[in-house]
């Protein structure tokens, strides 16, 4: 049995998050341009940012995949060729598509490899074969496929497979929910999902009688967490594991990427799974935004216990408060404030490797040199130098100490 380490594919919702994910250990990133993707509310990349993002990632040996996974109508398809040519020029490593028409355009206007998006809901070997014949070079399987079956699909077809390992999930088969389309006039398969599955519902039966249910959130899936299942992933010879979350913040991008990267890196080096790292990183994953975790379908088909019975995300223990922009040795760290913190707060620096380091803020200064007692978001401040700090490290504080949103 081969013990190939899968590629760790992280979300890049913006240029800054791309840099964070790269530095916290991603092997590859996926991102969207300003058109043709599904995360229209994400910041997404301008052409200039795409160029810069590719340069940054490639300089560190990290691949960049661009998402073009909306189901397009003819008129939009006509606008696609120049964009595809631009992406090829920029040197992106692959495109992620869901639509056979898009695939046709990409193949006739570029030589770019094409990964099939999970939106196409390929969940069996024959489906993978169909798309292989159509010309895709990798299949991102539907989230309904278990790790073991993903391995079987790979064996049966020879096509590289990617699975989702972490993050939010549709409770529907991907690409098979058009609630937003018909209720809000927003195409969920062109980036307009209104998240109706997260709404609170009441129920009645055929005769109009109200069903007394204690489960008002019957459609809202818990978040996927496959950290502890990495041994099975490696065993199954999966080619790539993907973290969902282009819409999520820097803290999520950094911490989740680091959790998977550190466990995989240790295994790659030592050839054994480290239970301490697993435990430590499992705790870290509980500190990022989530709707409780489930293993989804990674082991067995998900059922009722995979549903999250709340409206809001789980209350967070930690809040990201800033991102390091500059480290001046023995002098100061320049931090972009993302969430307010105060003099005397105990914060944590999350290094690219190793455990988070706690420290107390003995002073804070603004860029004009003035003393600051309480910071404001969207400002830059200097704080005391920490030897472990590096540019793009994240800082966080416990919610009991800092202001959590």
């Amino acid at each position: 049995m081969s013990s190939k380490i899968p590629e760790l594919l992280a979300p890049a919702g913006s240029l800054e998050k791309l840099k964070v994910a790269v530095l916290y250990g991603a092997d590859a990133l996926y991102l969207g341009g300003q058109q043709f993707g599904l995360r229209t509310a994400a910041d997404n990349f301008t052409q200039r940012e795409l160029v810069e993002g590719c340069e940054f990632a490639h300089a560190r040996g990290v691949k960049v995949y661009v998402v073009v996974n909306a189901f397009l109508h003819d008129q939009e398809l006509a606008e696609l060729p120049p964009y595809v040519k631009f992406l090829e020029q920029v040197g992106v490593d692959a495109l992620i598509v869901a639509d056979l028409g898009v695939l046709k355009v990409v193949r006739s206007h570029s030589g770019l490899p094409v990964h099939l998006s999970t939106q196409a809901s390929v969940i069996n070997s024959y489906g993978a074969k169909f798309w292989q014949r159509a010309g895709v070079t990798r299949v991102i399987l539907g989230r309904e496929v278990s790790i073991a079956h993903a391995g079987e699909i790979r064996r049966a077809t020879g096509i590289p497979v990617e699975i989702f390992i972490h993050g939010s999930m549709c409770s529907s088969y991907s690409g098979n929910c058009v609630i937003s389309n018909f209720t809000q006039g927003r195409d969920s398969n062109r980036g307009g999902c209104a998240h109706s599955c997260r709404f609170e519902y009441s129920y009645s039966d055929q005769d109009g009688a109200v069903i007394d249910s204690s489960s008002p959130y019957f459609l809202s899936s818990k978040d996927l967490n496959g950290l502890s299942l990495l041994p099975q992933v490696v065993e199954a010879n999966i080619d790539s594991i993907k973290i969902e979350g282009r819409m999520k913040g820097h803290h999520y991008a950094g911490v989740v990427t680091k959790a998977y990267a550190s466990l995989l890196a240790h295994y790659q080096k030592i050839g054994q799974w480290d239970q301490n790292i697993l435990q430590q990183q499992t705790e870290e994953l509980s500190r990022v935004i989530n709707r409780d975790y489930t293993s989804g379908n990674l082991l067995h088909p998900a059922q009722g216990d995979s549903i999250y019975q709340q409206r809001e995300n789980r209350p967070l223990e930690y809040q990201m408060v800033g991102i390091v922009h500059q480290v001046v040795k023995d002098d100061f760290i320049l931090v972009e404030v993302k969430s307010a913190f105060e003099l005397g707060d105990r914060l944590e620096l999350i290094p690219f490797a190793g455990e988070a380091q706690e420290f107390e803020l003995s002073w804070i200064r603004d860029l004009a040199g003035g003393q600051v007692v309480r910071t404001r978001p969207s400002t830059m401040v200097r704080i005391p130098y920490l030897p472990a700090a590096q540019t793009f490290n994240l800082l966080r504080g416990r919610c009991a100490e800092v202001v959590c949103n």
Partner: protein
């Protein structure tokens, strides 16, 4: 234009045959999302329909996981396959399976969810070359688009013209926990869901052996567009009356619908719509603008454009400085350069560069590298996220 619909009993087949429907659809429980007939009934109805000279197609519209695939194939193999003029399939894997393993069967690809453009539809036909009986198009394709697409397809084309609109399909059994009762195999749970957070109330929900389905509160109604659809070249119109429970009412409706297919009369179509027991919509038939909202949600003023772009304001200390994250690599504008800032509100503020320092407050004298934080002279009415540009290139 031909009419096709679902039949669940001998009586329904009789009703459909009487009004001149050419083809019926049979749903086999183990292969059909919303549940369906058992094996014996499929056998019986398929044979009976053939005797009555009706064509029969079989619906295999579930998505099939690798785990279930072998079992689904076995279920399929038990059916009287020789009686079916086509197999209606949603899962591309199932299409591939039939294409590879059952060379004598014809396919009716259901492209309702994923193919909204002509190249996509033609790709499916190419990949299933010679094996497609007809193709089922998506109701999200507008009439204007259909007009362009249908004539380009060299095969019969089908569209849903009347019936429930499926909104959601999950493999998870999501209703059982609500009623706190086990569901036996083949049984359906049917409920309605309402949310105060959404614009519509009373979504029909169904849990079957294959998971959970949600339908729109209003049914699709395109019978008023029959002449136009005929003109476009639509070959098969599908009418789904499975939600109409009253047998007699259904029989009457079949007659009227078949009459409309034979000879369209607007007034009769209106009467039929009024008598239809569910609220209806045209869906996206007139136009599909379900993507137009999103570009507006973004602030395009924040998108840096052009060669003169220098960076973005990341901090403003009133009367003291602006901090800019520098985006242009290896460039230092000379002091007194004309610069301007574009604020998130769209205001353009021209100014001259008076001083330029690094974060240690030292004057900058060498070209600034990308991503460095640069401090410049303060400008009034500027906020964070404003974009900094050079008014013209040095020397211009």
């Amino acid at each position: 234009m031909q009419l096709t619909s679902y039949a669940h009993s001998i009586e329904e087949i009789d009703q459909l045959a009487t009004v001149g429907v050419g083809e019926i659809i049979l749903s086999y429980g183990p292969l059909s999302r919303g549940g369906g007939l058992d094996l014996a009934t499929v056998n019986l109805l398929a044979q009976y329909a053939c005797q009555r000279e009706l064509a029969v197609s079989l619906e295999w519209d579930i998505l099939v996981t690798e785990q279930q695939f072998a079992e689904s194939c076995q279920q399929f193999a038990q059916l009287p396959l020789e009686l079916f003029v086509g197999i209606r399939v949603s899962d591309f894997g199932v299409m591939q399976f039939i294409y590879q393993q059952h060379p004598s069967l014809k396919l009716i690809p259901i492209l309702e969810g994923s193919c909204h453009n002509l190249p996509a539809i033609l790709s499916v036909l190419e990949l299933l070359a010679g094996r497609v009986k007809r193709v089922v198009l998506s109701i999200e394709i507008s009439s204007g688009e259909l007009e362009q697409i249908i004539p380009e397809i060299d095969l019969p084309v089908e569209l849903l013209l009347l019936g429930p609109i499926p909104l959601y399909y999950s493999p998870r059994q999501l209703l059982t926990p609500l009623i706190k009762q086990e569901r036996s195999c083949g049984e359906l749970i049917q409920l309605f869901a309402t949310s105060q957070e959404g614009p519509h109330h009373g979504f029909p929900l169904v849990e079957s052996d294959h998971g959970t389905l949600i339908y729109n509160t209003r049914h699709l109604w395109l019978l008023n567009a029959l002449p136009r659809l005929e003109q476009m070249g639509l070959t098969v119109g599908r009418v789904d009356l499975r939600a109409v429970k009253d047998h007699q009412q259904k029989g009457g409706m079949w007659q009227e619908i078949a009459a409309l297919f034979n000879q369209f009369e607007e007034s009769k179509a209106i009467n039929l719509k009024d008598a239809y027991p569910f609220n209806t919509i045209h869906g996206f038939f007139r136009a599909n603008k379900s993507d137009v909202l999103f570009p507006k949600l973004k602030n395009h003023r924040l998108t840096p454009i052009g060669e003169n772009y220098l960076g973005e304001v990341v901090d403003v200390i009133k009367g003291e400085l602006l901090a800019v994250v520098w985006r242009r690599n290896g460039f230092l504008p000379p002091l007194e350069s004309s610069l301007y800032l574009l604020t998130p509100e769209g205001k353009k503020i021209n100014f001259r560069l008076k001083w330029c320092r690094d974060t240690q407050n030292e004057p900058i004298e060498t070209p600034i590298q990308k991503d460095e934080i640069v401090l410049i002279n303060p400008i009034k009415r500027v906020s964070v996220k404003s974009q900094l540009y050079l008014s013209c290139q040095p020397g211009e």
